[in-house]
């Protein structure tokens, strides 16, 4: 069970999310509607994970995202899952840059419709994982074509799935290959991208993302 602080200005969605999270046995310690309230609620409840919208009152700009980044600067171990209504590399990058991307997620809001995947992503973020929306990953991959041209189609597939924060086992399952094949692919990806081999999953994802961002 996770203790969650939720920030979402649309009452409809806020209620829906509370219902959804409680349906999966989590506890919503506070559900708020503004970035200011979010900061206060986090200070009060010290949650396991924060879920926040990007666009919120008073400015209806990117208050939620800024609050999330600020929260992580103040409490480096606080996991945050940001829900956005649009694919935005600039936003995702800013968030991933905070505290090396440990325990952070950036998902399109519409992913909450895939309830099990959403709850699973939330759990991974709470455990310190990195979750990036497949759409954003796709954009990142398309954006930096050059270094990736060296990769085979299958290696690119593996990389895309890794960048979503999946484990080797999960990638293997998705591609219906063995886990050994996946780690072989990944090793060759790291070699082709001139990245040194490390063993922590997020480290690898981060290394890839950092490389892609350059």
């Amino acid at each position: 069970m996770l203790r969650i602080v939720l920030a979402e200005d649309s009452v409809l969605l806020r209620e829906g999310l509370v219902g959804l999270l409680e349906r999966f046995g989590h506890q919503v310690a506070a559900a708020v509607g503004t970035a200011g309230e979010l900061t206060a609620a986090v200070a009060e409840h010290v949650p396991d994970v924060v879920v926040t919208d990007v666009r919120m009152p008073p400015g209806f700009s990117d208050e939620g995202l800024r609050a999330a980044v600020a929260l992580r600067e103040a409490r480096p171990r606080l996991p945050v899952l940001v829900l956005s209504q649009y694919v935005q590399r600039a936003y995702a990058e800013e968030l991933l840059d905070s505290c090396d991307g440990v325990g952070v997620g950036y998902l399109l809001k519409e992913r909450v419709g895939r309830v099990e995947e959403f709850v699973d992503a939330l759990r991974r973020v709470a455990e310190g994982g990195t979750v990036v929306d497949p759409e954003v990953v796709r954009q990142l991959l398309r954006h930096r074509r050059d270094p990736l041209e060296r990769l085979t189609a299958r290696e690119r597939e593996v990389l895309a799935l890794m960048a979503e924060g999946r484990s080797n086992a999960s990638v293997a399952q998705a591609l219906t290959v063995s886990e050994g094949t996946v780690s072989k692919h990944f090793g060759s990806i790291l070699t082709k991208l001139d990245l040194s081999l490390t063993d922590a999953t997020n480290r690898r994802v981060l290394a890839v993302l950092a490389y892609l961002r350059k």
């Binding site: 649309s10 409809l12 969605l13 829906g16 999310l17 219902g19 959804l20 349906r23 666009r55 209806f60 700009s61 990117d62 209504q85 649009y86 694919v87 935005q88 590399r89 600039a90 936003y91 399109l108 809001k109 519409e110 909450v112 419709g113 895939r114 309830v115 099990e116 954009q139 990142l140 398309r142 954006h143 074509r145 050059d146």
Partner: protein, 428 residues
């Protein structure tokens, strides 16, 4: 006839037969009473105004004196139409609000008012006496010559008459010859008179401020109103984006969430299958509405500015695009116009150019922002054919910007846009 000016009429053969000589004479002669009245008014206003200033009553009189050029110029513009159908425009702006004080302030701030005052002074002091001398002189000479026999008969009883104090006529044949000369001189003098009127009209046109000031003001107002239109359009786009975002999109997410939860209950077929389909449809609708909203007005443009928004478009482009835009935040209309211009350019690159790579570069140096979109495609792009680039050019022109397209057959295509960093006609 009405489209003819005196100047054009003067070089025609039928000049003497028409009304033109009379018009010219009327133009010159009407100056005399007008100038006389003006001179008297100026002197009276100046004298009484100066005399009464110590008791403050004189101040409005002096103010009237300052403004006297306005009615004078109005009369002069009308008089000018006697011999020239081309209207001389009123250079004065309409005051922003009704009321004497606003009117006064507007007039006193306009350079046109002061030029008209200068003209009035010149008119009162120099122009009308000259005209009186000229037109009066010609008429007096012709009249005196023609009247010689009458004078001879009536005044000296058939004796002698000294015509114009120059020539002594002492017989009726001589007197009639002189009279004949006078009548013959009249049509001949119509020419110098006509040219004098033309000269006088030209002087009026030069001295009286006319269209340029007024036209400038009108062009500026036009620019502002175009800017307001674009701003209104832009505001409407943002409103639609916000409404879709806060309304339809949120509801669809909630719907998708509810359907997702319903599917967890894993009901039996066919309901389970229907739920799955409904869920997929909701997902597809969400993707569509997300793209729609982004096309209407991308959020990142408002939040992060032009460079981030262009990078975002570049990310989505089918053709790889390098972006190099080290730009500060710029005024919103500038960012919007340039953003949509770059979008259009990149869409064209993807659709028509056959390019394998494109590059967007831009600098904001000095007062201007220059952005260039270059691709390595086949070239042959044109601004006239497609409405897309034409629309972009129109939109940039509202900001006093310009669009330059170089696209020789075989490529490369370079689209360069250049706008002032600050819009020239801020919508008020």
């Amino acid at each position: 006839m009405s489209s003819l000016t005196l100047r054009q009429a003067l070089v025609r053969r039928r000049y003497l037969l028409g009304a033109w000589p009379w018009r010219a004479a009327l133009y010159l002669l009407s100056s005399v009473p007008a100038g006389l009245v003006l001179l008297v008014s100026v002197v009276l206003l100046a004298a009484t105004g100066a005399a009464l200033t110590p008791v403050l009553v004189g101040l409005p009189l002096l103010l009237t004196l300052v403004l006297i050029g306005i009615p004078v110029a109005a009369v002069e513009r009308r008089r000018l139409r006697l011999i020239d159908p081309v209207r001389l425009g009123d250079p004065h702006r309409a005051p922003e609000r009704p009321g004497l004080a606003v009117w006064l302030r507007t007039r006193l701030r306009e350079p046109a008012t002061w030029r008209e005052l200068g003209y009035a002074v010149l008119f009162a002091g120099v122009l009308w006496p000259l005209e009186a001398l000229l037109a009066g002189g010609v008429l007096a000479v012709c009249g005196a010559l023609s009247a010689t026999p009458v004078v001879m008969a009536a005044v000296t009883g058939g004796g002698e008459v000294r015509v114009l104090k120059l020539y002594l006529a002492d017989s009726y044949p001589q007197a009639f010859a002189v009279a004949l000369l006078g009548v013959a001189l009249l049509p001949l003098s119509a020419y110098p008179l006509g040219w004098a009127a033309v000269g006088r009209a030209a002087l009026t046109r030069v001295l009286l401020p006319s269209e340029p000031g007024g036209l400038d003001a009108r062009i500026q107002e036009l620019g502002r109103s175009r800017m307001r239109l674009v701003d209104a359009f832009e505001a409407e786009r943002r409103r639609i984006e916000r409404d879709l975002h806060d309304g339809a999109q949120q509801r669809l997410v909630a719907l998708s969430m509810t359907l997702g939860l319903a599917r967890l209950e894993s009901p039996a077929e066919p309901l389970g299958g229907l739920l799955a389909r409904a869920h997929d449809e909701a997902g597809a609708a969400l993707v569509e509405i997300r793209e729609l909203i982004r096309g209407i007005h991308p959020r990142v443009l408002t939040d992060r500015g032009l460079a981030a928004a262009v990078e975002d478009v570049a990310d989505r482009s089918a053709v790889p695009v390098d972006v190099d835009l080290p730009l500060p935040r710029l005024p919103q209309p500038v960012e919007s116009a340039v953003y949509f211009a770059v979008c259009e350019a990149l869409a064209n690159v993807a659709r028509h150019s056959g390019a394998s790579r494109a590059r967007v570069t831009g600098r904001a140096d000095g007062g201007r922002l220059t952005v260039e979109v270059r691709d390595d495609g086949n070239g042959g792009a044109a601004t006239s054919g497609g409405t897309g680039l034409q629309g972009v050019a129109d939109r940039l022109s509202v900001l006093d910007g310009s669009l330059l397209l170089s696209s020789p057959p075989g490529g490369p295509t370079v689209l360069r846009l250049d706008v002032p960093r600050v819009p020239a006609h801020p919508a008020e």
